[in-house]
Amino acid sequence: MSTAPNHLQGRGCAPGEFEGEVVLSRQPFGFWQGLDPQTGVVIDKRHDACGQSLIGKVFVFPYGRGSTGTPGIFLEAVRNGCAPGAIVNVASEPMIIMCAILADTFLHVRIPVVDGLPEDAVDLRTGDRVRVNGETGVIEVLAKA
């Protein structure tokens, strides 16, 4: 397990590698009614990431919330190129992992998911550039915002 300051070690939940900018949220997020799958923008007015685009971003939020319809919206966003490029959670509920597995199986798009990062230990900020490995669970911090 890496202890280098520019490495965070989580648990790999869905394979794939992605490099991009962080969008950080401190609130649980539900994709159903939370994300506009046509624009990739967060539309949940009660959410701290409201108004931000998730397209090609590493979306960091504590855990997923909500409806069993979630993969419907998620895959619609993936198909439209409006999904986040990677997901990092404190704890991924099965719903988020299912979204990634379904996107891989049915749309052949890999969206790495890493969880198991303690909430207070995550020194990530919106705009940081990171590389996420959904197999090893390693998050490399390439540049701070």
Partner: protein
Amino acid sequence: MFLADAEQRMLDGHDGAPRAQAMAVLSRLGEACGADRMVPIASAHLVASSYQIAGEAGIAIYGDLVAHGARVAVRTTSDPGSIDFARWQAFKTPADYAARQIVIAELLDQMGVIPTWTCTPYTTFNVPRFGEHLGWSESSAVVFANSVVGARTNRLAAYVDLCAALAGRVPYFGLHTDAGRTGDILFEIAPDLAAAFEDHYFPPLGYLVGQVVKDKIPVIRGVPGATFDQLKAFGAASAASGSVALYHMVGITPEAPTVEAAFRGEAPRERIPVGLADITATMAQMGGGDGPIDVVGVGCPHASIDQMRRYAAFLDGKRVHANVQLWVCTNTTVEQMARTMGYAQTIERAGGRLMVGTCHNDCPLAAWGFRRLATDSGKFAYYTPTTVGTECLFAGTDACLQAAVTGKVER
């Protein structure tokens, strides 16, 4: 994760591409969730049957599966669609939108899905039995099947439910196991509430419990008794405000003859008293306003024949207010019986409308411009402020029907 020979062959593609994809999804989910094997299921229920949820991605995925010969392996039913198939024009659904829902209906039909279009498949052609393993997703149906019937299903998700239907199996973890059905938190109904427990307390009690436990398993002690419809309303509220997939109600639900049985001999992690004041506060949170309303929603989850009788009895000889739409949501099975028995005609004669195979949450309703909705449903109370964009007023069933007649909620 161990796969039996037949399952490995499915994964390897011997039963066609759709079953191979289905098994790939299910085995990866099982690996991620610590399952050690698959378990055969008696039935599946699909949540991505509505265009609102499935969208164009769903049409593409279903189209591809059908092109490769996909057929469900077990009894499989559909959740509500995004249109009332018989009356979508009367509900102002755009024609191009309705057309996409009809495409989904055709694709599901080609896979052998029973088109129940309901969140209460257990009132139609998908009746689970005690101890049976299922692959269901609709949250209110999952919590009913697990809690009221004692069948066993995890809270699957859109498309994963179809994978379960195609493979006839799900990964064995969570609520499929004995240990996974153990209660976590004990709610004790206080004497002041138990002594005055009313029909319309079930949704706020479920709403409160869901908010507290999130995805844990609540055990509720002290509810004096509950009907089929009250348990349905309680569960739906708890599955919306939280992610409750199983609750135990002591002396009422089949796996909870006693508190000890519900906790399988373990001590509750937490004990929470619930009094009348807690219910009152939760009702205020769900929508405590009063005054004029422009739409009333009952039948969430879809109304049973008993509820249809109740609505008809209340509305007989009355007239829905000119400024109000009263929409009664149910499925085609109940609708047909309600028509045979005259309840549907009574509701319609009063000016109410039957909304069949869908609901306020699943339909595009922007054209109506609704501002204030009254409902007796904890699930509607949770979702309609975002799905329909209305302010929500929660009230009991009779109070909602009364509001439909007078045009306003009076407290």
